[in-house]
Symmetry: C2
Subunit: 459 residues, 2 copies
């Protein structure tokens, strides 16, 4: 237990709700303020994406406050990528070793459970309260009620900004900071959600325990399973250009395009054209900023600190890990909140940046490389190396997804090291014939030892 | 003349005032709204920096509306850099050819003249009006009067954001745009203004027609002449570290530091310690964003679009050039404002980014390299090449400062090309003995022709 503080959290999303539970368990007085209405009453969507991939880092953070099992009940394991090639063939690529998997969960269902659990723990969530200004001298937040328009000003010892990529807390912080570093940047693709309903026997229309991908180089379609036996599909697609949202203007355009490029999927999508024109096209942002904290009184957390594109499935997991890392630091540092926040920032800022960078890089891998035979050979070689040297060679995807004790920033460095070696090896003439030879294995592991030593020196 | 539009300009700074004059001359109804009080009445400073270097691009833009001569009256020519080395020696480095110079002008005096000229041209400047919100559907700006707190909402056909690095117009634009690219980033140094007054005979205490620099690698002091025979000095200095603002806590600290590192300057600075502790320490930001425009109804201009650090002396000049380039485009495109703004953005965005990058690079050159003998040899060699091949080899500084017909983005590319050649040549063994030989000249110009061809292909 820490000395009891009055704490405000802006945002009752996934991270804000979980953070509340963590802080309450440490003995604090916690109140959450959320701009949106209570989704449990209104049935409104929690955000724009419908399902998410919960993996080991997120589960570890949920487990630490004893709610991982509760959440696992609403999750569907996905053991690998089911690749749907343009020629109609399919191939399954496991994500890791046997028994390693990620979990498809509904964002709104997960968020509602977390809100319930926050309230069960004695936290009051105030809905429809828009954070309008923060007075950093007085540590007071002014909220405007979205329906009544009424203002209220609330003071606190500590304020957390867990209010997402377009955080109102962060904007207040930015506008009243000197030397605030800030970057927001978008990729050239947007996304649109579509659906594959349960089939006529009320069963999943495709293999359930996989994340389905239709990689098409400049764009891709993915599908994640839902508990109601439907799949939510997401089309990642350029905004402009010959194949783009801009170019698909009519239902005919959409049908023609999908029939040509997603031939197997389109048969499972009876509401395709309606979905396409009714559902919004959303953009994909990366946000980096610094500092995340103000002395002992304010910290950004989750997307508010480090928004990332979804291609590593780590946005939520990273936000949950922010909470568990912060908790570890609180455990160590007692009541010295200057120290707690300084260490939280110094540990998490490089990790947030690292996973944001990896997420952009993974977009290229997912849409382009998963269909490339040489890439698949490389993945097989890496899997073999991992099997023979499980402590040494761990594929970057596994480091990020299944190794929650390895920091994102370290995973990124180790991944780059391995990728550099692989690039060298894959360019050896005749590699197709000898990739799984003992000669190659020795060569690779020699390079690995050499480079690893210099990496360790750096850390 | 164009079809008369109702135009609002946010900001009566240097760029806002000049832009007003340009637009008024094209026949528009122009009103300017400025957050600050009228500096002509209040005697308040126009901004943070006291004097500026006006050079050919800025003068060209002033000349186009017939006010260059008027402004030149308050400017002091600076023909080169007067370097004050750490060992007490001095050396003069001309900026360009004979007759090429930049001009030291007082920011507030220049701003007041431009406001006068705007009013003479029939523009109303509304002071103390803070831009609070912009309604992009109605094209209406709401201002709050800084004294009375009274709101007023003004509608316009076209709104310009000329309100500086921390533009309120840009924030409204950003908050209501999807896919807005934004970067703000600071260098590790801040600045503080100090003064060298006129000497006891009421004369300049140093050579008047030069920009004085005390380069000290990690930091530097500069001084620009004022019309009252004083110099304004600016210390560019790290915020933190062993030599930093943070480390100079007492008057003794300041005296000791200046006596050691700026021995000749400190003798001319009787109010040094008072200035040091009374004047603010300011930060140095680079801002890049996109888009700069909204269809036919809004455009950012000057620092609001592209804030840069001051080390190329181009912030104001670039903002003035924005106005003259916009005017050229208006001349060509008549009343099609969608087209005018699209072209303005497509031309000026790469140029704004280029000069912002060059400005950061020049910081390194100014504080570190101007005291390096090899760098001075390189500058001499480049000056010689320019003399022999005046159309081919133009030093980057001259391209930016004295070649207003060469775009910043082209100046940057040509500068990089030349710098790459110089780096190669300077690393030739024994170059000290043969740098001005015919052999080297042939080698350099051969490389130049080769690389220039590929550069031209790219453009």
């Amino acid at each position: 237990m820490q000395e009891k503080k009055k704490i405000i959290i802006n945002g009752a999303g996934l991270v804000g709700s979980l953070l509340g539970i963590y802080l309450k368990k440490r003995g604090h007085e916690v109140a959450i303020y959320e701009r949106r209405p209570d989704m449990r009453l209104s049935g409104m969507a929690a955000g724009r994406s419908i399902n998410l991939a919960l993996s080991d880092r997120g589960l570890k953070a949920l487990a630490k406050v004893g709610i991982a099992d509760e959440i696992k009940k609403i999750a569907i394991p996905m053991h690998g990528r089911q690749i749907h090639n343009a020629d109609g063939t399919e191939v399954f690529q496991p994500y890791g070793e046997d028994g390693q998997y990620i979990n498809s969960v509904s964002r709104s269902e997960l968020n509602m459970r977390l809100m319930d659990l926050a309230e069960t723990n004695g936290i009051k969530i105030n809905f429809n309260e828009r954070c309008s200004t923060i007075d950093w001298q007085k540590n007071e937040v002014t909220y405007i009620h979205e329906d009544s328009g009424k203002n209220q000003t609330v003071s606190a010892d500590i304020i957390f900004g867990a209010d997402g990529a377009f955080s109102a807390s962060r904007l207040q912080h930015q506008l009243q900071s000197d030397r605030f570093e800030y970057l927001q940047t978008y990729i050239n693709c947007g996304y649109k959600e579509l659906t594959i309903p349960a089939n006529s026997e009320n069963e999943y229309a495709m293999k359930v325990n996989a994340l389905h991908i239709w990689p098409r180089k400049e764009y891709m379609l993915i599908a994640l399973p839902n508990t109601d036996k439907s799949f939510t599909c997401t089309l990642f697609f350029p905004f402009e250009g010959s194949h783009s949202f801009d170019a698909l203007k009519t239902k005919d355009d959409v049908n023609t395009f999908f029939n040509k490029h997603f031939t197997d999927a389109v048969k499972l999508m009876p509401t395709l054209t309606d979905d396409f024109f009714n559902n919004p096209t959303s953009s994909l942002v990366t946000i980096k900023c610094f500092p995340w904290v103000r002395d002992h009184s304010f910290a950004l957390i989750g997307d508010a600190a480090h928004a990332m594109v979804p291609f590593f499935g780590q946005g939520m997991n990273c936000g949950f890990e922010d909470c568990s890392v912060l908790d570890e630091i609180m455990e160590k540092s007692g009541d010295d909140w200057d120290k707690i926040f300084a260490e939280y920032q110094s540990v998490r800022k490089p990790d947030g940046d690292a996973i944001a960078d990896l997420a952009v890089e993974n977009f290229i891998e997912m849409r382009a490389k998963t269909a490339d035979p040489k890439f698949l050979m490389q993945k097989k070689l890496e899997a073999k190396l991992h099997e023979k040297f499980p402590e040494k060679w761990i594929p970057a995807y596994s480091l990020v997804t299944f190794s929650p004790d390895v920091r994102y920033s370290v995973a990124k460095k180790r991944g780059m090291l391995q990728e550099n070696i692989m690039q060298e090896v894959m360019s050896i003439p005749g590699i197709e014939q000898k990739w799984d030879s003992l000669e190659m294995e020795h060569l690779i592991m020699e390079k690995w030892s050499l480079l690893k030593a210099s990496l360790l020196n750096e850390e």
